[in-house]
């Protein structure tokens, strides 16, 4: 694709370029691009560790993360969203596909790098965890836990490290002297803020927030979410926000991807998802959010049964055993993730029913 600073004065070519750009779905270069990412774990049995099957935790994900956005990754527990988050950071091995990072003029497939080559990119991508109680090492003070990463990324003197960690703690609204205390001395909300400070200590560009507020009380959730949004603005961050709770993502996310059994079933702008959810699974998730407005009260769609095992996912559409619209075709053919347009905005969904309605 030609660079847009090539031409400015020549009318004709500018229009041609604009037309060309319109054909490309994402105008700016995405910071992260996943192509057909699969993460499978072998299931072994017996003394000889015979492989009897694979857990298809993540089973073919295509996704682009735009610089500066908040992308929500939503689904029930067991749908593979956490595994995908860890896969993006290369904390679990990716079985297939590519995770392409673009930034500072570099384009690399993180999945192909060995641990040494990965090091410079480790500081660009960071993660915040769900459980504030296991995310901090109980045997170390906060300074002790954060010191080694800083050392690795070039903060050589102890005094300098203390200054950096102090600044970080202040950035997450904690006092500087918290660094000499142990994790058990903090509340859940404070620990989560320390976890955020830790992720920030290498000045990343993208942070995966894995259920970052789910374990907290509602009032504290709001504080932490607000902190995350302030930090995003100040430091120009991009977030991938993993959660099972659609009521959290509404005010936070620019776009939302809904996952079911290792696949994306719907992907669109956050407002569109809440206003015009297409996929039956998203509808069911949305209907489960408690609504304060009585007039808006809709029928609650109850999902029957549990998420099926990812070792042996259902044939055809993976959602069909629980879908109230399921037909024969759903059991036979897997619906592809297709692009639709609603009010001129892209809306991706994977469902035969929608395909048919759109065709009519």
């Amino acid at each position: 694709m030609p660079q847009n600073d090539l031409v400015d004065d020549q009318e004709g070519r500018v229009t041609a370029l604009a037309a060309a750009r319109q054909a490309v779905p994402a105008p700016e270069e995405p910071i992260l691009e996943l192509k057909d990412v699969k993460i499978h774990f072998a299931v072994t049995a017996g003394v000889f560790k015979r492989v009897v099957g694979h857990v298809r935790a993540v089973d073919g994900i295509d996704l682009q993360v735009r610089r500066g956005e908040v992308l929500g990754l939503v689904g029930e527990s067991g749908c593979g969203k956490t595994t995908l988050g860890k896969g993006i950071l290369q904390l679990v091995n990716i079985t297939n596909g590519s995770v392409t990072y673009r930034g500072n003029g570099e384009t690399v497939d993180l999945a192909e790098l060995d641990s040494k080559a990965l090091t410079p990119f480790r500081k660009r991508l960071q993660i915040v965890f769900q459980d504030p109680y296991s995310s901090l090492n109980p045997a170390f003070t906060i300074f002790g836990s954060l010191e080694d990463p800083l050392k690795k990324y070039g903060v050589t003197t102890r005094a300098e490290r203390r200054r950096v960690i102090g600044d970080l703690l202040e950035a997450v609204n904690m006092s500087r002297d918290a660094m000499d205390r142990y994790p058990h001395e903090f509340s859940g909300g404070q620990r989560q803020r320390i976890g955020i400070a830790r992720a920030l200590c290498v000045e990343p560009e993208l942070i995966v927030c894995d259920e970052a507020v789910s374990a907290l009380d509602v009032s504290i959730q709001a504080q932490v979410l607000q902190l995350l949004m302030e930090l995003k603005r100040d430091k120009n961050l991009t977030y991938i926000f993993i959660t099972h709770d659609l009521s959290v993502t509404e005010y936070l996310c620019d776009r939302i991807a809904v996952m079911y059994l290792g696949k994306i079933v719907e992907l669109c702008d956050a407002e569109d998802l809440y206003a015009n959810a297409l996929h039956p699974y998203t509808e069911a998730l949305l209907s489960a959010i408690p609504v304060a407005d009585l007039d808006k009260q809709t029928e609650r769609i109850v999902l029957e049964g549990d998420v099926p095992s990812p070792v042996d996912p259902p044939s055809g559409c993976r959602f069909h055993p629980r879908c109230r619209h399921a037909r024969d075709i759903c059991r036979q053919a897997e619906p592809p993730l297709k692009r639709y347009e609603i009010d001129g905005r892209d809306h991706y969904a994977a469902c035969h029913l929608i395909e048919r309605e759109a065709a009519d």
Partner: protein, 318 residues
């Protein structure tokens, strides 16, 4: 104030305030003032101290260890001094535990023998711990074929009957104190290795470990510096318990004449004479006192180990 206290009793009627209410109020006042510190470090010691058996064990252990170390102060006899005019004497004011077949003072031999036996027990346990932990913590953290290899080696060593291994090594290396420690270390590291490995397998899934990995820190740094401190509790317990086991093994091997050379007094070597049925029947002072000392020592170490286990067990809070 009572009304704000939680609990079913407060909802119905105002019940009389008890000692616990006041205690609770105080704790809460401190909590609100921000001066409350959870006594996590203190809990370990207070739990250990309130365990009567463990305290008894600690006292017995200290007495025996101190007596062995201070042997020259407690007896004027030389444990190696042969006195053919005082053979097989029963206990007396001069010879508290009597004398053996070459007239050596048994009390002095028990004291000095304790030095060697405890050294062998503690030394082997420490060596086994160091090796087991060094291997177990790292291989379990990195996993894969490294882990599988370490597991197989430990299984092979554990599957060998120890006595055959000992016979082999004694035949190759000869009898000596350091060889005995080597043998015990070689046969004993497997147990601690397995425990360290099991601990690591659960600890490495913790989020803080994932966070460290996300920074790309070196595996050895993460495993040894950041995770190991969290696995030390149970490892410490295991070291204590294997000390006791090694002392028993030393006694057993020396009794069979395979341990420390007979000229060096150890608890096992002293017992060695009881192989003779006549000694067993007629000269009880040759084997009974030292037998009691060994039993007491092993028992005390086991009691301490149990106390440590209870004190470090997170499932037994309070």
């Amino acid at each position: 104030m009572t009304a704000t206290l939680p609990g079913p009793g407060t909802r119905t009627t105002a019940r009389p305030r008890t000692r616990h209410d006041r205690q609770f109020d105080r704790i809460r006042a401190r909590e609100e003032a921000g001066t409350f510190k959870a006594p996590v470090q203190g809990r370990f010691f207070s739990k250990f101290r309130s365990n009567k058996l463990a305290m008894i064990g600690l006292v017995v252990f200290s007495v025996i260890v101190l007596a062995s170390i201070c042997a020259p102060l407690l007896t004027t006899h030389d444990p190696q001094q042969i006195n053919l005019r005082a053979m097989l004497q029963p206990p007396s004011a001069d010879h508290w535990f009597g004398t053996d077949r070459t007239g050596r003072d048994v009390f002095a031999r028990v004291l000095y023998g304790g030095q060697v036996s405890i050294l062998v027990g503690l030394g082997s346990a420490l060596m086994a711990t160091i090796i087991g932990v060094l291997i177990g913590i790292y291989t379990a953290y990195v996993g894969g074929w490294v882990d599988a290899l370490a597991m197989r080696i430990s299984e092979i060593l554990m599957a060998f009957p120890q006595i055959i291994l000992v016979l082999m090594l004694v035949a190759i290396l000869g009898q000596s104190l350091s060889n005995l420690v080597l043998i015990f270390t070689l046969t004993g590291w497997g147990g601690i290795y397995r425990m360290a490995r099991a601990r690591m397998l659960s600890l490495r899934e913790e989020d803080y470990v994932q966070a460290l990995r996300a920074f790309g820190l070196a595996p050895a740094l993460i495993a040894y510096k950041h995770i190991l401190p969290n696995a030390l509790g149970p490892i410490m317990v295991n070291t204590t318990l294997s000390t006791a086991a090694f002392i028993l093994q030393e006694a057993g091997l020396s009794f069979l004449g395979l341990g420390v050379p007979l000229s060096t007094p150890t608890w096992g070597n002293i017992l060695n004479v009881a192989q003779d049925l006549r000694v067993l029947e007629n000269n009880w002072w040759l084997w009974l006192p030292v037998g009691i000392v060994i039993s007491l020592f092993v028992l005390s170490v086991n009691l301490i180990g149990d106390g440590l286990r209870d004190a470090t067990d997170p499932s037994q809070q309070g």
